[in-house]
Symmetry: C2
DNA sequence: GGCGAGCGATACGTCCAATATATGAAAGTC
DNA sequence: GACTTTCATATATTGGACGTATCGCTCGCC
């Protein structure tokens, strides 16, 4: 039995007439008769009672009619479903992001817009550290992640750079250096630093530390904390200064002021990582397209 | 898209291997590849990721897999359902019977046995008069009916005679003629008769009346009632005698005694009628077979 | 009651498409 | 690097779906 048999059967049942059904199907009447006969032979029973004028469904045919229609409808819907999955209108996308990502306006904007445009895609969000997220993507626990620079280049992972954000200095309230318009890095040489542990983001950590080295000093880290919001709070509490992505200025914490770093300022790159094998996955491509479009409207380097 | 494509797709998805799937399907590997390619072309997306060792389902393929299996299962179940309907194991049978039919042991036995053997067939029962039931069968309101003889031969209706039952005389308690072993019809010439109206069963009515005429008298009908049980009650009440099918002796009404009629005794035929067009209907054939079998075990002429 | 029209079945030829056979290409394995 | 595994491609073959012509049956019409 093939779907063709069901299509022909339904056509004849609807028309109650072989000749007219054949016309509707765009084939001749004899082949239609033959296909119906083949179906009846396979099912072991007549589906139609042949009358001098047209045909009538038998009891078996009546029973089969609804089933046949349902199967045909089901097959069409299944095909349509596949096409929608393939077009990325249906499915899922597991997104990871580092703690600081939500503060850059691009990331929440991308997520919000993706949800709006593709309501059929189940988008899940998860926070983590850059190395943790990279491992999750590699192990197929996530599909994509917004991360800071990776030191080691995982084979099988791809990385699109989204924005190259300036880093700024965070001062506690009343700090003398906060009166300047821009701060040369070397001015921070005697300052106590609050920073995140190297393990949660070696790439950005090294970027900051090596910038200090280039300026001629080694930062004196007095306090470590993983959460970027905690860093700002510790700065506000007066434990020290810090160097954070410019987008952190979004968080208007009482008692903290931010100042740009005098050129050459270190940068905090934000990238999108995903499995190279999935580079053609439609949801991923849609996310990339969306990110590019929104990043263009909201150029990098600014907060 | 044809069911073949789905069958092939499921085979490959199960085996995760074209060559092995082709073996399982009993076809060569190249045609299988081609059919899958054709399916992928029609759906507009790859269903498998080709790996160096075998294949893996894509997201679209995974989505399609369950649908494909359900459709195939559904198609098989629909075919099986049709076969069962055709075999008469599924469906309905609307049975009619005259009031007196339930008293002959054959009829309830047939109904009971049919219900037991074919629980998938919805059997409905309805009582009525012979002409009413015949009209119902003709108008497709019933499928079969147990009736007494029909006078007019409805075209399109068929009639199987089931049993040729003796008629007996019903006497009120203490009637002198009830002392005889058999009663000659002529002895009833002066008796008042209780009988059913001709309209509810002209065939049997005429059989009785013409038997009386043959014996040399016209029955003096003093009371008419349609329900055969009412006739017996009226005889018990002493309103007159009656002539009823021998099977009515099943009803042991207080104050009524039955006596055989001396030969030649009139007969009450019980027949099964059905539409000639439906003579091949499986439920009908099963009912006929069952009736024949049970009638043979319980021969006609006896009560 | 004969006759034409309508309709499905049958007969037969044609052509496409599903299959088989042979081979190629790519990647892994020893 | 030769060999194996596995899917894709190329070409030939065949079966089956379809088209054309015709038959057989039934009904309605004159």
């Amino acid at each position: 039995m093939e779907l063709r048999h069901l299509r022909y059967f339904v056509a004849v049942a609807d028309a109650r007439h072989f000749t007219r059904a054949a016309e509707a199907l765009g084939i001749g009447q004899p082949p239609l008769s033959q296909q119906i006969q083949a179906l009846e032979r396979e099912l072991g029973t007549a589906l139609f009672t042949r009358l001098p004028r047209g045909v009538r469904l038998t009891a078996a045919g009546t029973a089969f009619y609804e089933d046949a229609r349902r199967i045909l409808r089901d097959a069409e819907r299944a095909a349509e479903r596949v096409r929608r999955v393939a077009r990325g209108e249906l499915g899922r996308l597991r997104v990871g992001m580092i703690n600081s990502a939500p503060f850059h306006p691009l990331v929440p904007k991308v997520v919000r817009e993706f949800r709006r445009q593709y309501p059929g895609v189940a988008l899940t969000l998860e926070e983590g550290t850059t190395p943790g997220l990279a491992a999750a993507v590699r192990d197929d626990a996530l599909d994509v992640a917004f991360v800071r620079p990776l030191l080691i280049n995982e084979p099988g992972l791809r990385c699109d750079t989204l924005i190259d954000e300036d880093l700024v200095v965070a001062f506690p309230f009343g700090h003398t250096l906060a009166q300047r318009k821009t701060v040369p890095l070397l001015a921070l040489s005697i300052e106590p630093f609050v920073l995140f542990p190297r393990s949660v983001g070696a790439g950005l950590y090294d970027e900051i530390v090596s910038a200090c080295h280039s300026a001629g000093f080694s930062p004196r880290i007095v306090q470590e904390t993983s959460q970027v919001t905690s860093i700002v709070n510790l700065v506000a509490a007066g434990l020290g200064v810090s160097i954070v992505p410019a987008s952190m200025q979004q968080v208007h914490t009482e008692g903290v002021s931010y100042r740009p770093i005098r050129k050459p300022a270190p940068k905090a790159r934000l990238s999108l990582i995903y499995r190279a094998a999935d580079r053609d996955a439609p949801q991923l491509q849609k996310l990339q397209a969306l990110t590019r479009r929104l990043a263009a409207a909201d150029p990098p380097g600014r907060a």
